[in-house]
């Protein structure tokens, strides 16, 4: 099982362990208190009955009566002082002499109250589905008798049971909610973590590619300078060596420039969006690239609809320049490059198309990766660093757009930036 699942399970078990004792305890306390209340009420009634009976009882009269008279007197006095729900018990025979309860009194000697003196002491007896509250108090007059109170408290227990069901329901709901919440939170955390890991892996890959890209020119630079120091060379060889050192150094410089640009893009605060006319942007870019195109004898043409867009002009410029540079590198003398800006289906599109060598289909997916080059030796010769398209994708992303590349080998490539 994965760690996050185990964590969720552990948290839920802990929650359950906390909820169950709390619920049981509160239920027990509620039940105990309502029982005590009932016992107090009924105890007071019992106490009152006892006091009355003792007040009205005339021992001297009782002694002079016949057996039947005695019985009748006792019954009369008991009914006068104690109401329904009580029974008069003869201690010697443990039988009910007068019974005003709805039940038959059996085996009263085994009642086993905790404290016989306490009039509020009680005992619960279960009789079928009924719960009975039993209390007992001894009489001082007539001696040898006691009063038993039998009250039904089934209602209390039903109520308690209902409370328990409510408790269970609420706790279950809380438990499920908490469980869901924890699960979702953990899942999101884990997803975030995986995403971070992915980014870190990508970064590592990028660093690996970067160090390789830096190492190659450095190998040449160190190698040639070492050769110049140690080896006796002809003058033309010396010139060649210096030329190589110079070119590789420039390559490193270009690479570091592009890297800095990339890093700048990752720190978004430098971006300034403003409304810019597409025509102005294109004119500016064409002006900058004209010279290079003429040098390579490539026709550079533009076509533009009048619309404006919210953008960072410097970034958009670098995007277009990168695309045109790529097109220039891929196009041989006599070819042509079209730079277009138009609106289609509510989307603003910047397009750079060339009649160059094109990109093999299987490479299309990889060319936007940093440091990926389709033809390494050709690209190197043209001074490519393999970062241009990666940069373009990032710029398009910042403007909420994307890059679409279409290409046919030996026919040309079309790159559209769609916003």
């Amino acid at each position: 099982m994965k760690l996050w699942k185990r964590t969720v399970l552990l948290m839920l078990v802990t929650l359950l362990c906390a909820l169950i004792p709390v619920g049981t305890l509160s239920l027990y306390i509620t039940g105990k208190r309502s029982l005590n209340n009932a016992a107090e009420t009924y105890g007071r009634q019992l106490e009152n009955g006892k006091i009355l009976l003792e007040q009205f009882w005339d021992n001297s009269k009782y002694e002079q009566m016949s057996e039947t008279g005695k019985k009748a007197y006792m019954g009369f006095q008991f009914q006068r002082c104690c109401g329904s729900g009580m029974a008069l018990i003869d201690k010697k025979s443990s039988t009910a002499i007068e019974n005003l309860t709805d039940y038959k009194v059996v085996g009263i000697e085994n009642l086993g109250l905790k404290n016989e003196k306490d009039p509020y002491a009680y005992k619960i007896q279960k009789l079928g589905k009924k719960y009975l509250l039993l209390q007992k108090v001894a009489l001082s007059k007539p001696e040898g008798y006691e009063v038993l109170s039998v009250r039904e408290v089934t209602g209390l227990f039903t109520e308690l049971r209902q409370t328990a069901v409510w408790f269970a329901g609420i706790y279950l709901a809380v438990f499920l909610m908490a469980g869901l919440f924890i699960y979702m939170m953990m899942k999101r955390t884990v997803e975030q973590m995986e995403k971070l890991q992915e980014v870190a892996e990508k970064q590592e890959l990028l660093m690996g590619a970067l160090s390789h890209e830096m190492r190659t020119p450095l190998t040449s630079i160190i190698g040639y300078s070492d050769t110049l120091r140690h080896v006796k060379l002809k003058d033309e060889q010396k010139d060649r060596a210096l030329e190589h050192i110079n070119r590789e150094g420039k390559r490193l410089e270009a690479l570091s420039g592009k890297m800095l640009q990339m890093l700048g893009l990752y720190q978004n605060h430098a971006i300034q969006m403003e409304m810019t006319m597409a025509g102005d942007l294109l004119n500016h870019v064409i002006d900058m690239e004209k010279e290079q195109a003429e040098k390579k004898a490539v026709h550079l043409k533009m076509e533009c609809e009048a619309f404006s867009m919210k953008m960072d002009p410097a970034l958009m410029e670098s995007l277009l320049i990168n695309l045109i540079d790529n097109a220039l590198k891929a196009t041989d003398a006599g070819g042509s490059i079209w730079v277009k800006a138009y609106e289609k289906a509510g989307k603003k599109i910047f397009e750079v198309s060339d009649t160059g060598m094109g990109i093999p289909e299987e490479e299309l997916g990889k060319i936007t990766d940093a440091f990926y080059m389709v033809d390494k030796s050709r690209s190197r010769k043209e001074g490519g660093s393999g970062l241009g398209l990666a940069l373009c994708v990032k710029v398009a992303e910042i403007h909420g757009g994307c890059l679409k590349i279409e290409s046919r080998q030996r026919e040309g490539t079309t790159v559209r930036a769609i916003f």
Partner: protein, 219 residues
């Protein structure tokens, strides 16, 4: 007769660097810049003695080229940026004589090339400079056809300089490679032996003192 070395490397700068140094050290070089060109080159250059091969090449890569080299019984030294163990093991198991990782030291590459040539019996048995000839098999040095007697250390030192013709060698480097790592003498020893060589062989100008570096045998 010079040993001929094929340099198969797609980075022009590094290819030229290799050729420049190998030629200065007294080898003949032929360069190819991709896999297919290397195959073509193999057909033409029957008499090559060794190939220095990059692995990541356009077209056929260095590993795939191994079959062609084997057919010609040409020893191969891989020189590549691939520095993982798996690639090294693969390269050597395929039958390469040696495997070197970029960035590399030119001096080390020269020594390794020399050793591969010796191992495969392709090293030149006779070295020459000006009017002096060294027969490596009989350990004899001739000047204008007449034998010159050199002490063992002088002979080793001279051969080392000859093998690295046109390349400057530091005093420490010479001490290490002629006298061995454990030798406790000081670098003055080298100067004394160099002086002896200059006198005995009359190579006063050819064995140049390079300030701050050491000595170089020039031709």
């Amino acid at each position: 007769m010079k040993n001929k070395i094929l340099v198969i490397e797609d980075d022009r700068a590094i290819s030229e660097l290799l050729c420049m140094n190998l030629e200065a050290a007294g080898y003949e070089t032929v360069a190819a810049y991709d896999g297919e060109e290397a195959q073509r080159l193999l057909l033409w250059q029957e008499d090559a003695d060794l190939a220095v091969v990059d692995i990541m090449l356009p077209g056929k890569d260095g590993f795939a080229l191994m079959e062609d080299f084997k057919k010609k019984e040409l020893p191969v030294l891989y020189l590549t940026a691939k520095d993982d163990v798996a690639s090294k093991v693969k390269g050597l198991k395929l039958g390469a004589e040696d495997y070197m990782v970029k960035p590399f030291e030119m001096l080390e590459l020269l020594v390794r090339i020399e050793k591969v040539l010796e191992r495969t019996g392709r090293a030149k048995k006779v070295l020459t400079v000006r009017n002096i000839l060294v027969d490596m098999q009989s350990h004899q040095v001739y000047k204008d056809g007449l034998p010159v007697s050199l002490k063992p250390m002088e002979y080793d030192l001279f051969v080392l300089l000859l093998q690295n013709k046109n390349i400057a060698l530091g005093r420490e480097e010479l001490l290490k490679r002629v006298w061995g790592e454990d030798y406790l003498g000081e670098s003055r020893t080298v100067d004394v032996h160099i002086g002896q060589l200059r006198k005995k062989l009359e190579l006063y100008d050819e064995i140049r003192t390079i300030p701050k570096l050491g000595y170089r045998l020039e031709e």
